[in-house]
Amino acid sequence: MAPIDRCLASVARLTLSQPSIRPAVPLIPRFLAPALIQSRQASVVRTKKTTKKKAVPKDFKRHNLEKREFPQYTLCDAMRVLRAVEVGQPPATIKYEIHINLKTARNGPVIKNSIRLPNPVQSDWQIAVICPEGSDIATAATAAGAVAVGEETLFEAIRQEKIDFDRLICHENSEKALNKAGLGKILGPKGLMPSKRMKTIVNDVVKSIRDSAGAADYRERQGVIRMAIGQLGHTPDQLKANIQALLKKVKSECAEISEEVSKEVHEVILSTTNGPALSLNAKLNDPESGITVESLSGVM
């Protein structure tokens, strides 16, 4: 609102100096020429065009695969295709991957855990242990297969970014030293920072090493759990055991986690390092396809 004295001044100028500034309104009856009468445009407040962004749906989009008749494969069919695509590759380096699409909300708790597969994909983890130097725990840890043991020496190596391990376990007695060292900035992004929640600050280091040696991590990202599930050399039965073990664990976690949110497995997709992704239909083999489990078990 303009100050009233300024308005008064302009009104005064209008009335005094230029008395005839307003054109005389031509007297055309409204009913004669409605088109000539101009509406007052200047005073019409234009509504700003606000293109509201469509609200992101709460859940991830999951299509109904049966309704869309999306092709799904039995495990043997999928393996036949994948083995054909990966023919001639060294089987130890090529991995089967699994993608579990979850029917879940975009926000909320996520699934994150590790699992010991019946047929491990990678067994030679390099484990480092933080524990008081020269103690019994340190010798026991080295005996169990840890590549690096210690407190200050290990912290110094980490500060210099000399990280030649892919698991880090901390003993309870060294927790304070670890917190004091302030390595979260380096270890955090790599996912190596020990924490009680991840069960990497433990009392029994040797047991933890033995557990995590054959274990593989998995976590839900964008509503999908992805992980390596087997080596190319595995037989259908081995792969089936791995997939079943993982799915059982994921399903039980889904049931555990959902108090108010619902979370369930929607689709299971098998793929390889260089291969296509094939949706599985939870069957091992279809007798009509004319391939046997044995034919997929041999050397590639």
Binding site: V81, A84, V85, G88, V224, G233, T292, S295, V299, M300
Partner: protein, 211 residues
């Protein structure tokens, strides 16, 4: 996340490992195939690699139980060779017994390697070998040799499969046209945006000078 239609089209492309040159069923006497060539192409190793890349997946798809071993190394002076292990005619009479014994044989054969770890093994007692020299040959040429030596039965695509492949081909062509059109559109948009940006930058300078 990829949409369902995108994923469907990717799966439709898998028809390329079902049909095409190399889609053939090998006779029962072929026990295994071994290919030996270098990682680098120098010395006529290209045909061998192309054979592996283009035709071997199709062969493997239609003969999933036959081991097909690829051994690659860095010795370009060696000629690239393919070794086909065939069961001898006499022993093929006792198929069930010999197949169980010979199926245990290839386990001695190490699986494919990139570091020259799985050299061709000498044939077992009831096997004979055929060597194909792949040096300086085109991959299709190698396939002809291979088909003649093994007497494999090539699979003819059915009418539906031909129609599907043609549909995919038109899809590919249309996609190329569309990609070009969208590229031009985006280029024009970017050009305009750049021009505006430059104009703004210049105008901003002028205003500052005035001030």
């Amino acid at each position: 996340m990829r949409s369902l239609g995108e994923r469907l089209n990717l799966l439709r492309k898998l028809i390329n490992i079902r049909c095409g040159p190399g889609a053939a069923i090998l006779p029962a006497e072929v026990t295994r195939i071994h290919m030996d060539f270098a990682l680098r192409l120098k010395g006529g190793h290209m045909g061998a690699r192309k054979f592996w890349r283009e035709y071997l997946p199709r062969l493997k798809y239609h003969n999933p139980s036959i081991p097909m071993i690829v051994n690659r190394h860095d010795q370009n002076q060696l000629p690239p060779t393919m070794t086909i292990y065939l069961r001898k005619a006499g022993s093929s009479a006792a198929v069930p017994a010999s197949s169980s014994s010979s199926s245990s044989e290839p386990i001695a054969q190490p699986s494919s390697s990139r570091t020259n770890l799985s050299k061709a093994q000498p044939p077992t007692a009831d096997e004979r070998v055929v060597h194909i020299d792949m040096a300086n040959k085109h991959s299709s040429h190698i396939l002809e040799f291979f088909m003649a030596e093994t007497r494999a039965v090539p699979l003819q695509p059915t009418n539906e499969e031909i129609a599907e492949m043609q549909a995919l081909e038109t899809l590919r062509k249309n996609a190329e046209v569309d990609r070009e059109r969208v590229r031009l559109l985006r280029l024009e948009k970017k050009k305009e945006e750049d021009m505006l940006k430059r104009a703004r930058a210049a105008g901003g300078m002028a205003e500052q000078e005035e001030a």
